[in-house]
Symmetry: C2
Amino acid sequence: MKRVKLIKYLTSNLEIDEAEILSIVEKYPSKKVEREEFLLRENSRCKHTFFVESGLLRQYSIDEKGKEHTITFAPENWFVSDRESAYFNQPSAYYIQALEDSQVVMIDEGFMQHLSRKFPSFTKFNNKLLHNHIRHLQKRIHMLLSATAEERYLQFIAMYPDILLRVPQIMVASYLGITPESLSRVRRELARKKG
Amino acid sequence: MKRVKLIKYLTSNLEIDEAEILSIVEKYPSKKVEREEFLLRENSRCKHTFFVESGLLRQYSIDEKGKEHTITFAPENWFVSDRESAYFNQPSAYYIQALEDSQVVMIDEGFMQHLSRKFPSFTKFNNKLLHNHIRHLQKRIHMLLSATAEERYLQFIAMYPDILLRVPQIMVASYLGITPESLSRVRRELARKKG
DNA sequence: ATAATTTCTTATCATACATCAATGCGCAGT
DNA sequence: ACTGCGCATTGATGTATGATAAGAAATTAT
């Protein structure tokens, strides 16, 4: 039962035979990673796309001033990777770390090629993933350019209500681009307003 | 001489026959757009990718508070598009406008499919464009999360020294996510330091 | 050339958010 | 259960940047 979600994800998006997918997917390791464990570190090459079967991962960077910036939270059914590092074969600027004990399928370039050859529609699917990624990044940029601390937090709640409850506020703050103290104050204000 | 740069761009990236590319590319309109003219407006669907043969385009949005945010400056040899709108067939959140009189090749979905069928390597090329786009967006996010006004401006100078001289500062400011007044102050400070 | 806009600069004032610091809470490990 | 460390909260203070306004400069239109 270690790749069920990935298989479900693929079959529901690709309209292809489950047995066939299974025979490919099962060749790729599904790894149990413990809380705090790293799947990628800064300056190493990212060779995988991680699909989260269960648990929660976080991708983040540490800037020149020593500050952490959360790039993504990746709960069940999410893909995470450093596409930049993987595609251009460059040292990564990011860490990917488990925030909870997790089960993760390790997908690599061979997997992609294998599926692309076998299922022409996979290329399109992959394309869609890229476009979704771009859409997500655009939204993030727009938020950073136009929203106040409070607005950012409200957007976050609306988008990821579940994640909010599973990660420390300090990491939410680093996702929103504000300090933990500011986030705390924003929360107090909102609580005061609503009751 | 209206598609030379696009053809050069494609042949140098695809290693395919120039004559063959030409026969396809020449079917697509190369449009002369005048300064101030719009190629895309908010809420309309983006049906094209624009390749800039000459001149300069700007992609920007206007947020809920009425403020402009420059997404991209696109000088010669650049592609611009709203991938989100085009790919998901959604109303666009952006404007694309000419900052200078420009010559622009209008590429559409048919063009992509045509080239993909004819040249399998085109799919890979397209993939590379997507990854470059992602890399660019990541960099932007990192800048917005970690850099001060001055640092942003210095990064901009380093990356786009040519563009700096061709666009009003008010637009550079809206790209950096600061006010024109702040940019003016930053510039004065830098001038004072260096001499 | 002249007039009309738009942009740039500069100054003053306002503010959202950061920084620093202290306290208490809560969960994790022993 | 005890201990310790990281996290959240709160207050005091600082600062970078925003808002507003007004005049200078530059660009565009007539």
